[in-house]
């Protein structure tokens, strides 16, 4: 039997055959070391692996139960090792002795160098390996292939300034190293920095050697005090650059905010009692207003002064007079009401602006009267009583006289205290 011969080789020193050439993508079974190769007593000749649920044949050979079953199902009923006839019923027995022997073997998980602490029987390990949290995903390699191993380890980011630390990618070794070795890294940085400044000093020196006042030679530069100054300056530059960048971002953000503010309409508080009411899409609006007497449309609000009265205007169509628009001005509750004089006294100018010809614009002026309830202090957000015209403008006139270019009507309302 040639197997036993091979086993001895396996247990011997690993040969120098370059196994790196066997590189493949899937490496669960490939992390095994020589110790993972079963002793020939415990090896199934079919799967060449540890006997799993071993069975013994009448001709004295051991196989995994499932391996032998597969073999006997696929082939004539012969032992794979000596071709003796095997009857499934009579010639195959569970080999519990060997099963226990294998169960008593305790091996470390092949991923123990990466930190897996599991110690179990080979069979359990085989089951554990595909799900071992420390398993290597990328490529297979043997532990003796140190060179390959080194490349696969994680290098310290400070490697370029001669930190020679490498860590296992599966562990947090690198993280720990970065935390703990800060002083070492600082030293390396300082060394590298000195090297760079010294190196970069050279051309400057040769350039200025012709000038009447030669700069201090490198030897002088190398003395501790100057070095400290350069270092301090360097740090300062870094800080200032950082700050400049922060400011840039801030200015940019403020600019953005400003642009946004400009796009928003003027605060009603500073409207000075003027409402410029652009009514877009007039035709559909009229249809809507006609459909229901309760449908009305309000303008945006205005204040007569920053601390003055608050107004808005309202458009609707009376059901009895579907051909005319009504326009009313309403007082609104505001934070100023408590200190203002009531009822409101003033003049309200209404103007329906003709977009093409100013002389055609329709002007109306209303003077307040103290007995009109609409000018008393409002008790609701928008006073329920308004003052204006039930028949403000004939709709067909608006259309015919050209007030409504692009289906847009402009009404200007000026409210002044008298």
């Amino acid at each position: 039997m040639q197997r036993s011969h091979a086993e001895q080789k396996n247990n011997g020193k690993p040969s120098s055959i370059p196994i790196a050439s066997l590189d493949t993508s899937n490496g669960e079974h490939d992390c095994e070391t020589d110790a993972d190769y079963p002793d020939s007593r415990y090896e199934c000749a079919i799967c060449i692996d540890w006997l799993n649920e071993p069975v013994l044949t009448s001709c004295g050979h051991r196989f995994c139960k499932s391996c032998l079953n597969d073999w006997l199902q696929n082939h004539n009923q012969c032992c794979p090792l000596d071709n003796k006839h095997l009857s499934t019923d009579q010639d195959i027995f569970p080999d519990n002795f060997t099963r226990r022997e294998i169960e008593q073997l305790k091996h470390k998980c092949p991923n123990s160098p990466m930190g897996c602490s599991l110690i179990a029987s080979p069979i359990e390990l085989n089951r554990h390996l595909p799900t071992c949290p420390y398993r290597r995903q990328q490529s297979e390699h043997h532990h003796q292939d140190l060179e390959v191993d080194q490349q696969q380890r994680e290098k310290c980011p400070f490697a370029s300034i001669k930190c020679d630390f490498v860590g296992r990618p599966e562990t947090n070794q690198l993280e720990e190293h970065l935390k703990l070795d800060v002083p070492h890294h600082m030293q390396l940085i300082l060394k590298a920095f000195q090297q760079t400044t010294l190196d970069s000093w050279q051309p400057h020196k040769s350039n200025s050697s012709t000038s009447p006042n030669p700069p201090p030679p490198p030897a002088q530069y190398a003395n501790g005090v100057d070095e400290q100054i350069v270092q301090a300056m360097y740090q300062r530059i870094v800080i200032l650059e950082q700050r400049a960048r922060e400011y840039e971002t801030r200015v940019e953000n403020l600019n953005k905010e400003l642009r946004l503010c400009r796009q928003q309409p003027i605060d009603a508080r500073y409207s000075n009692g003027t409402i410029i009411w652009q009514i877009e899409q007039l035709t559909p609006l009229i249809t809507r207003l006609r459909a229901n007497a309760n449908n009305q449309v309000y303008s945006h609000e205005c204040y007569t002064s920053p601390y003055g009265y608050k107004f808005c205007a309202r458009l609707n169509i009376q059901p009895r007079k579907p051909h005319v628009l009504s326009l009313h001005v309403h007082l609104m509750q505001s934070e100023n009401d408590f200190h203002l004089d009531w009822p409101f006294k003033g003049r309200i100018k209404l103007c329906m602006v003709h977009p093409a010809d100013k002389s055609l614009s329709q002007h109306d002026t209303i003077m307040t009267k103290p007995e009109i309830l609409a000018f008393h202090q409002p008790r609701e957000a928008i006073s329920t009583r308004g003052f204006g015209f039930l028949e403000y403008a004939n709709i067909s006139n608006i259309m015919h006289l050209g007030f409504c270019a692009d289906d847009r009507l402009l009404i200007k309302i000026e409210i002044n205290i008298v």
Binding site: I17, L22, N26, I48, D49, N74, L81
Partner: protein
């Protein structure tokens, strides 16, 4: 590919890599693709045979049902042997057919093939022409096998007589390999070979 087949082939691969034979350069094995389904084997011609000094390359295809079914093996290197087709490289060897056993490995297959080169079975031939020559004109068989080993497997023995006869046929527009095959078949009788070719 079935999991069992892959894991077994991987293990076998290592077995071959660590075997004594590889140190002696007597057998070799390498991957053709990443899926472990196809491999390339190489065996050295055994000493004291006409194949001595030659390296014979084998195509090994591993079926999904491996190891319950044998690997499919054939010679890529042309060889003159009663149990190997001189045309296709197909091998007649019982363990690669009915007598396969799951306990056999790539290593044992390669070693068995090496043994087959050393001990031909002319009574169970794959190539009837070669088997015939082996039995009836053994001297010609040895000559031809050595010549083929030299021509295709890098063997050490050269036969200027054979080469000149092949050259004669080549001058007539015959492909070198066809010329060699027909001359080998006709026991290096140039007239018969020509007759056979142009009749």
């Amino acid at each position: 590919m079935a999991n069992m087949a892959v894991s077994r082939i991987k293990r076998e691969f290592k077995e071959v890599m660590r075997s004594e034979e590889i140190v002696q350069c007597s057998i070799k094995i390498e991957l053709v693709n990443d899926s472990w389904t196809e491999l390339r084997g190489e065996i050295a011609g055994p000493p004291d045979t006409p194949y001595e000094g030659g390296k014979f390359v084998l195509e090994i295809k591993v079926p999904e049902t491996y190891p319950f079914n044998p690997p499919k093996v054939r010679f890529i290197t042309r060889i003159w042997h009663p149990n190997i087709s001189s045309v296709t490289g197909a091998i007649c060897l019982d363990i690669l057919k009915d007598n396969w056993a799951a306990a056999m490995t790539l290593r044992t297959v390669l070693l068995s093939l090496q043994a087959l080169l050393a001990a031909a079975e002319p009574d169970d031939p794959q190539d009837a022409v070669v088997a015939h020559q082996f039995k009836d004109k053994h001297d010609f068989f040895l000559l031809t096998a050595k010549h083929w080993t030299n021509a295709y497997a890098g063997g050490p023995h050269t036969f200027p007589d054979c080469d000149s006869k092949i050259q004669r046929l080549k001058d007539m527009g015959i492909d070198e390999h066809d010329a060699r095959a027909i001359l080998s078949k006709e026991n290096w009788n140039l007239e018969k070979a020509t007759e056979c070719l142009f009749s």
